[in-house]
């Protein structure tokens, strides 16, 4: 496939995803035409601090949905809840037809909803290829009774290795396959983690800040990889702070602030939303600071006298 046809294919997939969402109104919690994930009334608090208080969130199938919001908005906590790494105090969420409340994290991953981490969790003392192989599901050799008999699982291992090598080539990590994962740079680790997540053969992938700490050149290739996932029919939900990246690849943007979803919609319109700008910059960001300025000078005077 030439580069040109690849881009046009990518454009058409993107156009389809955008078209599917075109009739959807931009309001928090709105129902989408083909929902793969629906979360309702999720509540998570740590003591008195309400970290997540989401009334409704749904994710459109085969789209790229960005979850943005200022620091401390509860994005990662919400992510942890959805993926089963944290237990909410209240709420239900469904993935395809599976009720996920009280489901262990590993079961959620087995169902095809797999996540990556904000601080990459590559297994440093294992080689890149071993990291990849670990991702494969339903391996006979992972059962303790079959494990001592290589003839029982070596065939499957070959298939897994084949698939791992294909993915490593795609993510430009093939040359590193025999290195310890711990020797890789931060950006390469992000790539490896994404590739490893794909080894599980997911239908939905959740990326927690895939671009954080990655140099600009690698960011472009990461963005390309994420777009490729959508072409393959995967659903992507990702947390990101890099607004250019969000604008570039996402079909839909969900904004969180103080644990709540305050806005959602297509990237261009959401970023003009007053509630979103207020959440990032403060509601009074364009007002003069006269009053507080005055009180400061008064304080100074009071001290000096």
């Amino acid at each position: 496939m030439t580069a040109k046809t690849a881009t046009s294919a990518s454009d058409s997939v993107s156009a389809r995803a955008v078209a599917a969402l075109s009739g959807v109104k931009s309001e928090p919690g709105i129902t989408k035409p083909d929902e793969i994930l629906v979360a309702e009334n999720i509540n998570r608090h740590f003591g008195g601090l309400v970290a997540v208080d989401v009334d409704r969130l749904s994710v459109q199938r085969a789209s790229i949905t960005a979850l943005i919001g200022p620091n401390g908005a509860g994005k990662t906590t919400f992510f942890n809840v959805l993926a089963g790494f944290d237990t909410p105090d209240a709420g239900t969420w469904r993935y395809e037809n599976h009720e996920l409340r009280n489901k262990a994290a590993y079961k959620i991953a087995q169902l095809g909803m797999v996540r990556t981490f904000q601080l990459t969790k590559v297994l440093a003392k294992m080689t890149v290829l071993e990291n990849m192989r670990l991702g494969a599901q339903r391996q006979l050799g992972e059962r303790i009774l079959a494990a001592p008999f290589p003839f029982a699982w070596s065939g499957q291992e070959e298939q897994v290795t084949e698939r791992a090598l294909t993915l490593l080539r795609r993510f430009n990590l093939y040359e590193k396959k025999d290195d310890f994962a711990g020797t890789m740079s931060g950006g390469q680790r992000k790539l490896l983690e994404m590739a490893r997540a794909l080894m599980t053969d997911p239908t939905m992938i959740m990326l927690d800040e895939p671009m954080a700490g990655v140099n600009p050149a690698l960011t472009q290739s990461l963005l390309g990889h994420i777009k490729e996932l959508r072409e393959e029919g995967l659903t992507v939900l990702f947390i990101e702070h890099d607004m250019d990246a969000v604008r570039d690849i996402s079909d839909w943007v969900v904004v969180m602030a103080q644990g709540r979803i305050i806005a959602e919609g297509p990237p261009a319109s959401v970023m003009r939303d007053k509630a979103v700008i207020d959440a990032y910059l403060g509601a009074h960001h364009d007002e003069e600071l006269t009053k507080s300025g005055e009180s400061l000078t008064q304080n100074k005077k009071a001290k000096s006298t």
Binding site: Y106, A109, F117, A124, L134, A147, P148, F149
Partner: protein
Amino acid sequence: MDWGQIFVISITAMVGSTTIIYALAALGLNIQFGYTGLLNFGQAGFAAIGAYSVAVVTATLGQSLWLSIFIGLIGAVIFGLILGIPTLRLRADYLAIVTIAAAEVIRQTVRSVSLNEYFGGSDGITGKYAREFYSFNPFDQAISWGPIQFNSAQASWITVVGWVLIGLIVLLTWLLVRSPWGRVVKSIREDENASRSLGKNVYFYKMQALILGGVVGSLAGIYWAIDAQSVQPDNYSSRFTFFAYTILILGGAARVFGPVVGSIIFWFILVFIGESLTQLVATGIIPDTILRSDQIGQVRFMLVGLALMLLIVYRPQGIFGDKRELALDDR
């Protein structure tokens, strides 16, 4: 000074039953701690279950030795479940606390006065209860092979069996750790959330590793009980566990042969230092004012401790370990 005799005794100790017992205990720990990262500080408890199952079922209850071995292994599985169910979901430290306490509970139980009639209190159980095992002894006299000289046909037989047992467990460990199962437990050792995010049932794998390592640990106790034909509760104090850990780290954790080589070296050094000091004191080369013969037992441990400190400073990865892996820790 008879250096020849010192070497014969030390080299015989290298392959002797004490080396085998601790190698078995360390092989179990290697599966738990070395590969899976489980801090089991109760290996003495698993060994005590094996040893007391043999002694109690044969000597006290008069049942078959083979049945007693089977009960010892099942006992280790149950002990592993009891320890694992409440703690394996928690952070690693909790398993360490619970296992060290549970091993002490077992030791205090078997040495308690009120259960004297079953477990023999602090004296333990002694008797010719392993006759069934020694009836298979093919040797009619003690074997000697170069500097290795056993003092009885019985000792020759149990040593051979012990090394065959070690060979089998090393083979099983080797097969397991190079399989996808081994890959999963190694990933749990590094970061269990990563394995969880890839759909692995971390709790289940930890339980498997804890039980498997515990069963191997109970074999150490079973072997000891058959070898000595007696069990004493204080042999299964936490010192047993710490020796096994020392051996594991000496040989190199997460290396298939680490525990075996570690045990050989540990007991060689310990016996060699002990025998040398004994002779040096007996012949007057070291005068009584510096070291008395009754102090040698303690001093040799001080010297072994010194040797271990040097090892940790100059070769922290152990004899077989890979230094590159340690270097990756800090990143």
